[in-house]
Symmetry: C2
Subunit: 575 residues, 2 copies
């Protein structure tokens, strides 16, 4: 039952469950997946006041003949950063509801790095009245590293007050596993905050094993979504963690983790996407896609569905979700069959909201108070950029160059004679949160621009303004185009703006639907290819990771080029 | 992790998990049952500050070589009324800890019927510092029926304040399923109270099925412990209830429910005893006995153990219990093997408290404030009873007699000529909570006394004073003996007290160990047999149920004899 149901609602629900009064809605003529036993049952599903009243023989004020198919609980994505889709929670809901997603658990890590608590509040408010439930985990590592210049710093006290919000389910992926297993004070306080409020703590600890893993789990970290090999997942599961099987845009672990779909393990596993981009949502789907992919690989549909329904409900303590049973929220999907798993209908709180892949409910843009969310809606705080800002400091006979690797987000260091120009672009990160004027400038190879420049305000994790180009004039124009849009992407050539996507919400998101975003992105990617960016390098995504100082080996930050291994800044030109 | 762990404790735990500092205790050389996968693992179990730090390779300040055997999580009884054992929580803990029980979930229904909120508070206080965790479900139906004269009435408001106590896990067995599925106001308010505080609600609805069952579950009732046939359990489990498999003293459902031990169902099942008497605890055991019995019937030990460890932890939301894994409370047992399941060692919060069936820690009688708990410690409020109190009111040529049935708690109605005396005893219930003087007197057949009388202050559910006898003088002596002891049992013959057991705590419990209780009970049962009580009739337990007005068909209450079918009082002598 819902915690907030009134006495009158409860009585009405009980009465229609008994069959004493007609239910609001009765679904007839379909199989019903029982996630508790794995059986397909026959019967009517009665719904009253948004809750399931009963399964049996019922009459309703409205009755829908489903003409076959199977009724399942609605799907839950247990870990995602909505910002990565470049659309708002409303835009994201529009995109994923037709795929059967009725709830997501988001970690607003990106917007929090830009706008701190205001960013989290904005995401809470802009997601509160959607026909898809948006639950939250509180970003645990803002900034990702103290060497980075983010828009905000969130300590335990900054997070604590958010636990009064019912939709906040815990502390998000504790990326700083190094600090956690060393008992770092700030982390311990954040852990205690979540524990004190009875919430859960998600993990993020690729390849952590043995006693270090014991320590990380003993600290209270209850899940992991970074497993990329089965043995890693099995060890973590055996030590008590719930395993989030991730299949998204940036990382795909499903194939390696398929054994987790077996009965022995599936009860402690969840399905997640982590990051999901517009094009990927359009061409593949969401959680439904993961389940289909597992089925095609020969795995049990029922176990896959459990990982996106009753399992996340159990893990997150959402007591009235994840099953087709009396007293549960009537978040239901109808699929053509368990084997093909195409979602044909979606019911949210007992209301039909999507049919045959088309949303049939209106999703309004949430009203957000501009003055209250100023830091989100006007997140760009940097002066006009001039070509002179891109001059490289220092001098010397040698040049340190960041080498991009196709298909990877790892980089390598290359040292060349300072006169070498072949396939070398300039790259810069401009601090954009506090108008400090800090600008790090360096060189990159492998990005491949022959002319023009590309700029983006999506640059993990601090989301400063990153620019790459063949000349300082185009770089300034690209940067100023993004600045003028208060965030987003731009591509320019020879003093002309070829294309831009404005992302004025925190410099990360916009109000467009994902189809509009994908259309624009696709065009700009083509333009980037024409300017020389090779296949294997995503013109924007690869760029976005070039500023992330936790992945080896050379990165560009607002203070210059960083050697990740030593976590220190290194000269670009030297002898 | 424990919600209340300090930062310093957490850091110490993390540090010893990493192996940076020595653990407090390391258990070596035993298999370790992994309840998540069902595997038996090899390794050391490191414990610090009462929590499990890690499983792997460890050094401890203390190390115990277990010399084989298997380490399992400690056992949990998910539903019991401690009062039925006639000993206090401390006495009960002494009895069950050597059997591997580290936690019980008790419903203080009996003491609440005697002393209301004070009774619940008494049980909370007298169980708070034991080396066995005592969790509580709040009695939902006090009194069981308005026609009965209990010592207290508990409405939703009387219960609400108990939810501030962390050990209160929810609302206990909602026996009034009739009222629940009809949306009774008082019940709805109690349900809302539990929901509002995020707690669970236990059920009690024998044979409820179909839409009535849907209604009961839609109301929020999450479990059932009354299933006596598999099909009943399967239907309830499919509708979302957790099934408590009951094998106690008063009811044994294990054999019928053995299919629930299979993989398909076991994840939603728990093991409970409901009522467990002293003799039964001594001769058989507790939860360990249920697991052994299931194993002997060919069922998986691992699934049985899960039903008493990780499953109840999941059902009740006890996040840090039920598994041998980092961050979990170090409540551990060692068994000789999974096949024989004899508990050889018990660790509570990482401390060895029982070895080879013998408790090796001291359990003090909890200090309880006599003035605060006056209603519990002096619960008898009735004037001296005289033989004249047992005169039967009215007259007529016919006599209505309650017929006891061997091996059952059902009764039947028998009408005989009023002159018939053969195998007919007099039976009476005297109100004992408020000194109203109300005394119901009637006749019983099947109890079999040839002379003397038996009295008891254990009389479900209101626990008034019940007396049966062959003559009014012995009946008064038996009743006054119990009254003089402020509760308990008595057996008398020809003006002489043959035996008595004082139960001065609420008229239900005493401070004796279960061996002392069993010794006395056993002697008195022999005496009852000598006075004529036949095999098949438990001299005290059968008597205790003769006053319970919810079981067919004829009962004796303080206001006289009741017809359960019509819930009305009926004349004993009539024409």
């Amino acid at each position: 039952m819902g915690k907030n149901i009134t006495g009158a609602q409860l009585k009405a629900l009980i009465s229609s469950a008994r069959g004493e009064t007609k239910a609001d809605l009765v679904l007839k003529n379909a199989g019903i997946l029982n996630v508790f036993t794995g059986d397909i049952e026959q019967g009517d599903v009665a719904v009253t006041d948004g809750y399931i009243a009963g399964i049996g023989s019922y009459e309703g004020r409205e009755e829908i003949d489903l003409d076959g198919g199977v009724i399942c609980p609605g799907l839950i994505d247990s870990h995602i950063h909505i910002e990565s889709s470049m659309t708002t929670p409303a835009g994201f809901a529009k995109a994923v509801i037709p795929h059967g997603t009725v709830a997501v658990v988001t970690d607003p890590h990106e917007i929090a790095n830009v706008a701190g608590e205001v960013g989290i509040s904005f995401m809470l408010e802009s997601s509160k009245d959607l026909p898809m439930d948006v639950f939250f985990m509180l970003p645990s590592c803002v900034p990702a590293t103290p060497l980075d210049e983010s828009g905000a710093v969130l300590d335990a006290d900054s997070l604590a007050h958010f636990y009064s919000e019912e939709r906040v389910l815990g502390l998000a992926e504790l990326m700083n596993s190094y600090g956690t297993v060393r008992g770092d004070d700030g982390i311990v306080r954040k852990i205690q905050g979540a524990e004190m409020h009875g919430r859960t703590i998600d993990g993020h600890a690729p390849m952590l094993t043995g006693n270090e893993l014991n320590a990380y789990i003993a600290a209270g970290v209850k899940s992991d979504h970074e497993c990329s090999v089965f043995e890693e997942a099995e060890e973590k599961l055996k030590r008590g963690q719930w395993i989030m099987i991730r299949e998204g845009t940036a990382a795909q672990d499903l194939e390696a983790l398929l054994p987790l779909f077996d009965d022995k393990y599936c009860g402690r596993c969840l399905l997640v996407t982590d990051d999901k981009h517009a094009g990927d949502l359009i061409s593949k789907g969401h959680i439904d896609y993961i389940i289909r992919k597992a089925i095609k690989a020969g795995k049990s549909p029922v176990n896959g569905i459990r990982m996106a329904t009753i399992n996340p409900a159990t893990y997150f303590g959402l007591k009235d979700r994840g099953a087709v049973a009396p007293g549960y929220v009537a978040d239901l999907i109808v699929v053509d069959s368990l084997e093909t798993f195409n979602v044909t209908k979606v019911f949210k709180n007992g209301r039909l909201i999507s049919e045959n892949g088309r949303l049939i409910t209106e999703i309004k843009k949430p009203v957000t108070d501009e003055s209250k969310y100023w830091r989100v809606l006007h997140s760009f705080n940097t002066r006009e950029i001039s070509p002179a800002d891109f001059s490289v400091s220092g001098n010397g006979s040698k040049k340190r160059v960041i080498k991009l690797i196709p298909g990877e987000i790892l980089t390598e260091e290359v040292i060349v004679d300072s006169s070498v120009l072949d396939d070398i672009n300039k790259i810069a990160v401009i601090e954009r949160h506090k108008n400090t004027g800090h600008t790090g400038v360096g060189y990159v190879t492998g990005y491949g621009l022959k002319k023009g420049a590309v700029a983006s305000s999506i640059a993990h994790d601090s989301h400063n303004l990153i620019v790459v180009g063949t000349n300082d004039g185009d770089m300034a124009l690209a940067a100023n185009t993004v600045r003028g849009n208060e965030g987003g992407l731009a591509i320019v050539c020879d003093g002309k703006v070829l294309g831009s996507l404005a992302l004025p919400i925190g410099g990360l998101m916009c109000d467009l639907d994902i189809s509009g975003i994908e259309e624009r992105l696709s065009m700009m990617k083509d333009q980037a290819r024409q300017l020389g960016v090779p296949e294997g390098i995503d013109p924007f995504m690869t760029l976005a990771f070039t500023a992330l100082p936790v992945i080896p080996s050379l990165r560009i930050l607002t203070h210059g080029v960083m050697d990740v291994g030593t976590q220190s800044f290194v000269p670009v030109l030297f002898d």
